[in-house]
């Protein structure tokens, strides 16, 4: 028994290694692109990416601001992964949640101090409902969730565009109207800690979501069932777990998390509005590398989201060094892209370890 516990601890300590390897490889490739595009400034630019977010408190506050929505979409994708589903529909769930938050934020100022909470709840519920459809299709009609949720991305985007036009349109700026002041998430002290940074209480809500997701997945019977279904649908059925319920609920929770992410971004009070343009919300897709880099572990996802926020902020500051914004976007994308290979490195490291011992005992 003591031996067993030790084995478990060891495993935990190894878990983040593949993610670190992935980050290092991503950074190395970023550096190569820098060297190709602007050799003279490459060193300074690279140093800025690595350290820029620590330049001042404002920059670090912006890391928290950028990280908040993608932690939620990362949780969404990761939660679905843990239960054996690929939620590529976080983008649609995100924007539907954002709209729900915005419309409640505009129309219900009479809610007073509970206004922003109700608006976030609306985002949570709307995102969940949006994922309910692919969940039902997967469980009862065996329609692959990837196909269904990609469709729902586009339906969500166009529906939100239409609804914004009909209900909350600011025709001068081609975007949604501003929400009432009571609907804006309180700063919870982050504005004094990180002045002029947009950091707000949404980050604490994201951390809370991480903790709750972690507890649900790892400590509850519900999480036990969901993970069982994800690992082995047949054995779950054999054990009497209703695997169809599991699939639907799992999608709904994933969608709700993404929807909440949308609410957190658009109620941040940072001058962010829903634009009426035919572009899918990027935060939804960024959730995929966040989940992969965090190896679908909620705690890992928290750090992965922070890392990607960190790189994004560093990239912004790099504009000081004569790099075209497009190049910066490419470099950040490359780093994120390679970060998503954490799973591959995990497989590689495991195979190495198996070969050197620690494999199956026959």
């Amino acid at each position: 028994m003591s031996e067993g516990k030790q084995g478990r601890k060891l495993r935990l300590n190894y878990d983040f290694v593949p993610s670190l390897v992935a980050i290092v490889v991503g950074l190395a490739f970023g550096l190569i692109i820098l060297l190709i595009s602007n050799p003279a400034q490459a060193g300074g630019g690279f140093w800025t990416i690595l350290t820029g977010a620590f330049r001042d408190l404002r920059s670090f506050g912006r890391v928290l601001y950028f990280a908040t929505p993608i932690i939620l979409t990362g949780l969404s994708v990761g939660f679905a992964f843990k239960t054996g589903l690929f939620n590529i529909g976080a983008s649609g769930q995100f924007i539907v949640g954002a709209y729900a938050a915005v419309i409640v934020g505009i129309t219900c100022p009479w809610l007073g101090s509970a206004h922003w909470i109700v608006a976030l709840l609306a985002a949570f519920i709307a995102g969940g409902l949006w994922a309910l459809i692919p969940g039902l299709l997967k469980a009862f009609a065996n329609v692959h969730e990837v196909i269904a949720s990609i469709m729902m991305n586009y339906i969500g985007m166009y529906l939100v565009n239409y609804l914004v036009l009909q209900t909350a349109y600011d025709s001068l700026r081609n975007q949604s109207m501003p929400v009432a002041a009571s609907a804006i998430i309180p700063k919870m002290g982050l504005d004094t800690l990180f002045p002029r940074s947009h950091a707000n209480g949404g980050f604490f809500i994201a951390v809370l979501a991480v903790i709750i997701t972690y507890i649900i997945l790892n400590k509850t019977t519900f999480g036990y069932e969901l993970r069982a279904v994800g690992f082995n649908r047949h054995a779950s059925k054999y054990a009497g777990i209703n695997e169809k319920h599991g699939i639907v609920l799992s999608m709904v929770i994933a969608g709700a998390l993404a929807g909440l992410g949308g609410g957190l971004l658009y109620l941040a009070g940072t001058g962010k509005y829903i634009k009426v343009v035919d572009i899918l919300a990027a935060e939804g897709f960024t959730g995929i590398p966040v989940a992969l880099l965090g190896l679908s572990n909620p705690i890992g996802i928290l750090f992965a989201g922070l890392f990607i926020g960190y790189i994004t902020v560093g990239g912004d500051i790099m504009q000081l060094y004569d790099f075209a914004p497009e190049i910066i976007d490419i470099i950040v994308a490359v780093i994120i892209y390679f970060s998503a290979f954490a799973l591959i490195f995990k497989g590689f490291i495991q195979r190495r370890r198996n070969k050197l011992g620690g494999g199956k005992i026959q």
Binding site: M1, E3, G4, K5, G7, R8, K219, T220, T221, F222, Y224, R227, A228, F231, N232, H234, A235, S236, K237, Y238, A239, G240, I241, N242, N354, K355, L356, G357, G358, G359, K360, I361, Q362
Partner: protein
């Protein structure tokens, strides 16, 4: 050259266990060399070292007297070493031919050249009597044919040292005869075979010499012709094994399971016939009823319908007097039914869960292991530790071992422990000893008999005639989805039972034409 392959002083350790401790294996050219040992004795580890999947910590491998370094299956293949794994490595959606050439395709200008491959495969198939249909999809062919495909894969790569990892575990008695014939044919053509098994009958039937391992240690090498089964079994287990099960006479009680005119539709697509057709029987307290039949005659569908994994197409199932035909799996699980499934990897275990998490697979929601939706992990692992102790389940890291890292025998023991310890009224055991060694078989048989003695009902589904004859109070023979005979083991010989199973003899029309 006295030996074609020599593994000298091989040591291989894993965390918590030394899988091979100074093991030596020497194979002569053209012989069938059996590698005998219990589950967990280190047979597979040794073969994985030979096949390059693991690197030995100590020791050398010599091929035709020359020391070689085998760093992976590709190198092993290049040295002429091929392996048929216990779980076949075939692509289901590919044809037989595509599977055989996979990895060594002939390509011309970027296009596959299948005609040459086809000619070579057909020639090999002819030469060694390995009947296959090259254009059939692997998902559509029998397990026996899949195995022949695996053998052809080795021959296609011109391997001449062939490792067979428990090749008979998944086969019917007829197919076992066939594979042994094939093995003899292969050695006659100059191939050398390493035959991993724990079935003494088979060693007696085909092997020339036999190396015995026990708990990772080399015990000895014997000449099969001069050694009797009892000696080999004792070498393997380290003590005398009693393979004859003692079934004391006892009165049976009321029926626990009553099946009335049960039909189950075939699950495959395009099948219109019933997989189980109008089957009626009961199982009473204090008896072991065995469903005997050749694989694929409806046993799987019957058991799945009884346990709720698939819906019944018609008829009625009663458990403890209650109609459960339409009830959920969980309802049946919590009302006295336990099920040792046929496929322990598909249904029996969640391989990515720890042993402890697997032990509570059907009871995690009970107050004992859960309160207000939160799992009581200390209780779960305590309970798992108790079962590990009581049922002698061996694993590297106790109840925290991922199920995936356990040996097949211990995985099965864990399932048996879980199901038996739930104290069911009816235990449905489907091929519970498949792929296990004599020690584990003896152990599982004892557990089943204990259930019988405790006044529980046991429904055993088995393909092994010895097991059927040894262990049952009544035998129900299933053939093409129908029960064709009800027999008592003492009134029938193994040969007769075989005829019933093959459908060439029924109670109604004795001596019907063989199908």
């Amino acid at each position: 050259m006295e030996y074609i392959i020599e593994m000298l002083g091989i040591t291989k350790a894993f965390p918590g266990i030394v899988a091979n401790d100074d093991v030596t294996l020497q194979v002569k050219p053209g012989e069938i060399h059996a590698l005998l040992g219990e589950n967990g004795a280190g047979k597979s580890t040794l073969m994985n070292v030979l096949f390059g999947l693991y690197q030995q910590d100590k020791g050398v491998i010599k091929l035709r007297g020359k020391e070689v370094d085998i760093s992976g299956p590709r190198e092993a293949n290049a040295l002429g070493i091929g392996m048929v794994h216990q779980h076949f490595m075939l692509v289901d959606s590919f044809t037989v031919l595509q599977n055989i050439v996979l990895g060594t395709e002939t390509v011309k200008n970027g296009f596959l050249q299948m005609n040459e491959a086809r000619a070579k495969v057909m020639a090999l198939s002819e030469q060694y009597g390995l009947r296959v249909d090259p254009d059939a999809l692997v998902s559509d062919i029998t397990v026996g044919m899949q195995q022949r495909v695996e053998i052809l894969k080795m021959l296609y790569r011109d391997n001449d040292i062939l490792i067979f990892d428990e090749p008979t575990a998944v086969l019917t008695p007829q197919e076992i005869e066939e594979i042994m014939e094939i093995m003899r044919g292969l050695t006659a053509e100059g191939k050398s075979i390493i035959f991993i098994t724990h079935k003494l009958n088979e060693i007696k039937a085909v092997a020339d010499r036999c190396t015995v391992l026990r708990r990772g240690k080399f015990i000895g090498v014997v000449d099969v012709a001069e050694t009797d089964k009892e000696t080999m079994s004792e070498m393997m287990v380290g003590r005398k094994v009693n393979m004859v099960v003692d079934l004391p006479e006892q009165e049976t009680g009321e029926p626990v399971l009553k099946v009335d005119k049960l039909s189950v539709r075939s699950q495959g697509q395009g099948h219109t016939k019933n997989a189980v057709d109008d089957v009626s029987f009961d199982v009473r307290r204090g008896e072991i009823v065995c469903i005997a039949g050749i694989d694929g005659n409806g046993q799987t569908e019957l058991v799945h319908a009884l346990t709720g994994l698939i819906p019944a197409g018609g008829g009625r199932i009663e458990l403890n007097g209650q109609d459960v035909t339409e009830t959920s799996i969980r309802h049946r699980n919590t009302h006295g039914l336990a099920h040792i499934p046929e496929d322990r990897h598909k249904h029996g275990l969640i391989l990515d869960y720890t042993l402890g998490e697997n032990i509570v697979l059907q009871s995690y929601f009970t107050p004992e292991f859960q309160s207000r939706g939160f799992l009581k992990f200390d209780k779960i692992y305590q309970y798992a530790d108790k079962l590990i102790e009581a049922y002698d389940i061996r694993s590297g890291q106790g109840s925290y071992t991922p199920a995936r890292n356990m040996s097949g025998g211990n995985q099965q023991k864990a399932i048996v422990a879980r199901e038996v310890d739930r104290d069911p009224d009816l235990l449905i055991a489907v091929q519970p000893t498949r792929g296990l060694d004599v020690g584990a078989i003896e152990y599982i048989h004892q557990r089943l008999v204990e259930q019988r003695q405790a006044g529980k009902a046991v429904l055993l589904v088995s393909l092994e005639l010895d097991e059927v004859m040894n262990l049952s109070d009544r035998i129900l023979v299933i053939y093409e989805g129908a029960l064709v005979a009800e027999l008592r083991p003492r009134d029938v010989t193994i040969q007769e039972l075989g005829l019933y199973m093959a459908g060439s003899k029924t109670e109604q029309q004795k001596g019907r034409e063989a199908v």
